[in-house]
C-alpha cells in the first residue's frame, strides 16, 4: 500500500522558480510545501518540517544538489527519504548518475506548473512500488 503524500520540501535557489513551484504544488497539487533556497537551509529546516519527499535543484551555488543529497542521506531518519532531482540537464548520462546516486526520480526543467504535482505523485507511487 502506498502511503499518503502531503508534505514536500523544495530546495531551489532561483526565486522565480520557487514562486511558480510553490503555486503549482500548493494550488494544483494541494500539498503542504516548504521552500528552501540552499542545501544548507534544507539541512537545517528538514527535521522541523518533516517532509514526505524532497524536490531538489541540481545546480545551486555553494552546496549543489548532489552534495545536498549526500548530506541529507547522512541525517538520522532521512537515510531513505525519496529525493527527486530537478534539472535542466537531462542528458542520458546525467540521469544515470542521479539514479546511481539513489534519486527517486528526475524532473526536467522547464516544468509544466499544471502537471508538476502529477509527476511527483507518479514518482512517489513508483518509489513505493519498488
Amino acid at each position: 500500500m502506498v502511503p499518503g503524500l502531503t508534505k514536500i520540501l523544495c530546495v531551489e535557489d532561483e526565486q522565480d522558480i520557487q514562486i511558480v513551484a510553490k503555486l503549482a504544488l500548493e494550488s494544483v497539487g494541494n500539498f503542504t510545501v516548504h521552500m528552501c533556497s540552499s542545501g544548507n537551509d534544507a539541512l537545517a529546516e528538514l527535521p522541523g518540517f518533516g517532509p514526505d519527499i524532497i524536490l531538489l535543484d541540481v545546480m545551486m551555488p555553494g552546496m549543489d544538489g548532489p552534495d545536498t543529497f549526500k548530506a541529507i542521506r547522512k541525517l538520522e531518519g532521512y537515510e531513505n527519504i525519496p529525493i527527486i532531482f530537478m534539472t535542466a540537464k537531462v542528458m542520458a548520462n546525467d540521469r544515470e548518475n542521479y539514479r546511481a546516486l539513489g534519486a527517486a526520480g528526475i524532473i526536467a526543467k522547464p516544468f509544466d506548473p499544471m502537471t508538476l504535482s502529477d509527476q511527483i505523485r507518479e514518482i512517489w507511487v513508483e518509489y513505493h512500488g519498488r
Binding site: 532561483e14 522565480d16 522558480i17 514562486i19 511558480v20 503555486l23 500548493e26 494550488s27 494544483v28 497539487g29 494541494n30 535543484d57 545546480m59 551555488p61 535542466a88 526543467k109 522547464p110 516544468f111 506548473p113 499544471m114
Partner: protein, 114 residues
Amino acid sequence: MAADTRQIAEKLHALKAAYDQQLGPRIGALESALAEIAAAGDAAGQIAAVGNLLELAHKIADSAGTFGHPKLSAAASDLEGLCERIGKQGQMPSSENSKELTELVAACRAFAEA
C-alpha cells in the same frame, strides 16, 4: 484540484508578466558580465568574470523555459555550458570562445526581445 484552474492560470500569467518585465535588466547583466571578461586585465580576472557570466546564464537557463521562453532558455543553457567549459580549461578564453560568448549573449538578447 485545490484551486480553480482559471485562478491558477491567472496567477501564472501574472508571474510571467512580472518575469518578462525583469528580462531586460537580466540580459543587460549578461552583457555587462561579457564586457567584464574583455575588460579584465589578466587570466584570473577573465576566469572570474566567466564564472559570473555562467551564474547569470544559469539563472536564465533554469527559469526562462518555465515562463514561456524556451529558445531563450536554450541559448542561455548553451552559454552556461560554454562558460563551464572555459572555466574548466582554467585559461583565458580563446578568440574563438570569446566570439561564441558574444554570439550567445546576442542570441539571448534577441530571444528575450522576440
